[in-house]
Structures are given as C-alpha cells and as structure tokens.
Amino acid sequence: MKHTLSVLVENKPGVLARVAGLFRRRGFNIHSLAVAPTENPNLSRMTIVVDLEGKPLEQVEKQLHKLVNVLKIQDFLPHEAVERELALIKVHSTKETRAEIIQICDIFRAKIVDVSQDSLAIEVTGTEDKIDAIVSLLKPYRIIDLARTGKVAVSRGRK
C-alpha cells in the first residue's frame, strides 16, 4: 500500500540525506519524492510517497519526528488532499502522427511545449492515474524521454 506523507523540514544542507537515509535504514521504500522551498525560504516541503508493504506507518513517522530538522509531518488520506504530478514527455512524431498526438493532448489538457521535425515535447499535470493513462496512449508513438516529478500534495479545505 502506498501512503503520501507531506513533511515540512528546515531548508538546510543534508536534510534530504537524513530523511532518505532514515527510510532506507528502517527498511521502507520511497516510491517518489518531491522537494522544494515553501513560501518561507527557510523551510522546504517534501512530499514522499512511501511503499509500506505491510509495515506500520506509525514507526516511520515517529522516527521521522526524531530528526531535529523535521518540523511537521502530515499523513494524507486519499480524499483529504489535492495531489498532483507533472510529467514532461518527449515523443517521436511524424507528419502523419502529429495531429493524432495533439488530439490526445487536447483530451488530457496537456500542452505541447516543444516541437521539431520528428518529435513533440508534452507537458501534462494531474493525478498519477491520469499521467499513467496519457503515457500508455503515447507509448505506441515511441516515447523518447519521460520525466515525472513525483507527487506533490496539499491538504484540502481549512486543515
């Protein structure tokens, strides 16, 4: 089972290594990880999707709390948070296929951000499922490169 943790940390050198090392040492698998500073430049937010494989989340949360640079941990249930991921997909295209690909992009509200004789670069945002879906539709055209950010999340409503 996958869980999304939103972890507020001090924006200091080495904090990412501490967090990632802790997950490794305690035997938890990080599925995806996104980090960037928040509106306060002294703080960063890490969105960590962790593969639990039957292990209790409580232990990893408690261990995370013990890190001096970790300020706050939120464990998001699926409906409590807005979750998005961004992908950049570079796909092979020809004169014949270009229009079809653009059509697929329209359906997914994806943007064409670069175009050349034989390729298109596509930017798409959405849930993990949505990105998986567009990737699978683009696969037959031959994907040249794919970069995904991993999930980022904020809580819904007042919380």
Binding site: L22, E58, L71
Partner: protein, 563 residues
Amino acid sequence: MKLTGAEAVVKSLELLGVTDIFGIPGGATLPLTDALSRTEKIKYYLMRHEQCAAHAADAYARATGKVGVCTATSGPGATNLVTGIANAYMDSIPIVAITGQVATSVIGTDAFQEADITGITLPIVKHSYLITDANEIPYLFAEAFHIASTGRPGPVVIDLPRDVQNQVINFKFPEKVNLPGYKPTIRGHTRQIKLALEELMKSEKPVMFIGGGVVLSNAHQEVKKLAENFRIPVAWTLMGKGAFPDNHELNMGMIGMHGTRTTNTAIMNCDLLFAVGVRFDDRATGNLKRFAPHAKIVHIDIDPAEIGKNVKVDVPIVGDAAIVLRELNTMIENNNLKKTNHLAWVEQVFEWKKKWPLKTPDSTDLTPQFLISKISKAANDKDLIITTGVGQHQMWSAQFIELNGPRRFITSGGLGTMGFGLPAAIGAQVGKPNALVIDIDGDGSFQMVLQDLGTIARYNLPVKVVIINNRYLGMVRQWQELFFGKRYYAVDLEKGSPDFVKLSEAYGIKASVVSSVSELDEKIDEMINHRGPYVLDARVKEEENVFPMVPAGASLDEIIGGD
C-alpha cells in the same frame, strides 16, 4: 570579544562546563589543539587510538552523567571514531565528537585525509553538523550539547574544517537554544499515569522491568520507592544493572538470553509488565511472539518511537522516567494506596529465587565465574565501577558482580563492542578519580585495544584490568560448541597472544598472573590495594559456558542450565 574559530570552540566548551576531552590531534585539528593548549579549564587526554577516545568519552558520560567529549582529526582519525559513535548511539549515551575536516575550499575534491564524516555517521548520530562559518560555532556547540544530553540522549558529531578554525569572529554565546523541530516530551500524560496505576492496583502478578532509561534519567530512587511501597519484584536488562540494588530482596536479576531463571520465568507468568526505560531488544525478550504472553504491558519511555516498536503496549506513557514515576509515586502517597492482592506472587518469586540462585561451578579449577564473584566480594565496600568488554566475561560480570547503585556497570549493551572495557575504564576513572575502576575484560576484547595501556600509564590512572584469559573467543566458542557440533574454528587465541604480564610491564604497569584458586584472594587483594594501575592475567578454565541460556530466537521459558 574577537576569537578565532578554534578559540571559539574552546571558549564554548568551557562555558558548557567541559573539563575533560579525549582525543588524538592531527593536521586538520592543529588550530583547535593549539587553542586547547591555552586553556587551564579543560584537560586533554591523549589517547592511543581514536576508537578508544570515543569509548572513553562514552564511559565518562555514563559514569558522571555529563556529556563526554572526544576529538579526532579528519579522514582516518574521524573514521576511527565511528565504532565508538555507533556504540554511544545504540546505548543512548550523550557524547559530542569534534572532528577536523579539510578546508572548505577543497571539500569534495578527495583532498588529503578527507572523509565525509557527517555522511558516514548519518545513521548512527542523534544529530550532526558541518560548520562552514565560524560565526555559528558558539550557537551550534550550545545546540549540540543540548541535543546530546536531553530527551533520549545520543551522540552528536561536529565537523570543523581547518579554515573555519582560523576564521576570526566576534564571540557571543547564546543564552538559550531554540530548536523548532526538537521538543522532547518530558512530562507524562497524567491520564495515562492514572491508567498505569489502575493496572498496577489490579495486577495480581506484577513485574517491574527496568533498563538503561532508568539510569539515564536518574530514576533509580523512584523505581526503588515504587517497588518497595507496593512490593513489586524487579527485573532488569543489561543496561539497567545497578539501577535497582542487586542485594535487594525484590531484585530478581537480569532478563533475557543469559538472565536468571527467576526473572525469565516471572516474565512468562506475570499478568502485568511495568516496563521503564527499556526497548525490548531481542537479547532481552527472546521470541517476541511468546514474550510475556499473559501480561498487560505498561511502557514508560522518553522516545515515542520505542513505544509499540517491538511489542504491543496497553498503557503507553511518553516522558522522562524519573518525572513520570515521581508523579505516580505522589499519586500513591496522596491517596494512601496499599497493595496486597499480589503477595502470593511475591512469595512465589521468593521461592524461585531460593530454588534457582546463580551458582558458580563446582570445580577445583579456577573458573571465571568464581573469580568474578570473588572480585565482587573483595570490592563490595568500595566505590566500585565495573567496565567490561563483550562476550562471556561480560555476561558473567552481569551475573556475579553485586552492584547496588546506578552508573557503576559500564558495558556495551546494544552494539556489543569488543574492546570497550579498557577505554571505558579510562573514561570512568577520569570522570570519577576516587572510584575503584575495574575493567573485567576478555583476552579477545583486551587485545583489540591494548595499545591504550599507554594512556593509562601516561596519566597514571589507577585502573585495574582483570583479563579473564581463557585463550578463546569464548562466546563464539560456546555457540560453536552448543549449536555447531563443537567444530571450533577461528576462535583459538592461545597462539599469538602476548605474555600479558610482560606486556603490561613494558608499559611500566604492575601486573601478575593468577591461575589457581589457592592464590586468588591474595592476588585480588594485592590488585585492589595497589595505588596505581594493575593488570591481572587470570588464566581461567578454558571451556566454561555462560548459563542459564535462552538460545537465540527461543522463548524465555526455553532455558538451558541454571536449574
């Protein structure tokens, strides 16, 4: 006040109350070493190996309750500290390790004697710093000592590049530290404490189970008060030895792999396990699935991550053991509570104690168990501190040395570091100059650190070293005997071991051999009464085993021996 970075370190250490530091200097700590030479307030103990510097600082902290400080140069000096830092981490001991680092301009270039020590130690520190601006020194040192010594204590590493040590700053020491991400819970939740008290009152077969956390939080008085007030039998882990008096009628002895039959049987039969400052380590619990099968568990610990980690807990209480128990004891006093519904259980425990005392083997040879119990008797009225290496001698010391106060049994519990005993004796003796410090060591453990006899000689520390010399890596041999068809391999130390008396004398340390029961008393007396350091090479019976024993992974009622 204008100071260099190195001087700022020394000034900060002085203000933090540091009086002793264990280390070895090197290229990357030359400015720091020079600054240390100019203070009267801090004494630098020059060690012979950095691992020993870390262990000495660790034992100093255990003996005194203060933060232990060690230092090493960059690269190999720093990496030699690693085992000592891991040891302190596993046993939650407050030390600060100050390492030199190459200059900031060359960090990351594989410069001479460069090692990424903050990276290497990441999984074995409570926290660490690489200081790149000397202006941060006063604040970060205050922060480091605060983190090391509060909450669940642990080691902190401070890496100091050489140029930072030379940078001139305006020294200003902080009045207090403010760490938004570090706020240990000290006071227990009153409602939880009430629940724990209810369970205590209800219980007909209670056991109090104490560990290193009782020592670290100085909760031994509160433990004794509660045990005596309610008459609750007490079991302890290796790290808790001495926190409850060994000679107390309610003391059942050690738990776990080499624990007493009484304690292990009581754990398997109790209906309430009142655990304080323990972490349910596998050596203590045996098979977790069958651990304390009839018991509700109350668990008091300052580290929330320990609660529920290995066993399911019925009443968790996060807080400092001494403060939580004081609140509980006050509740008992204020309500004038008495407990009598469990007295049949106490009688049962007393019967077990009578039936299964720890006995020394019936032998005319000099056995290690007999030797250690003799040392205990001879030193009983002294201000005694025992340090140990790791292995059979360590378990026999836990079994046969009687200690009646905390901070007197200094041993490597979690990491099980062979070679801990000798440097630990150095650290304990520096911290407690008037104590009788005896390192009960193994011939294997001792040979991992014997170069630090040089430190003992240099400072004429009156440390006594008893080498339980059975010419084997005894604990490994015992397991080979019991579980590997007696196929002894790579455990024989007879060949290649030195004459320990000549070796000690080469360092100018008095030494002698004892190999028979008849000369034992005389040799022990001579050692204890000798004013300086002394090494006793005790040539004991070779193939003695530590019993009782619960094999690894077995349940606590599957005990071999001791009946």
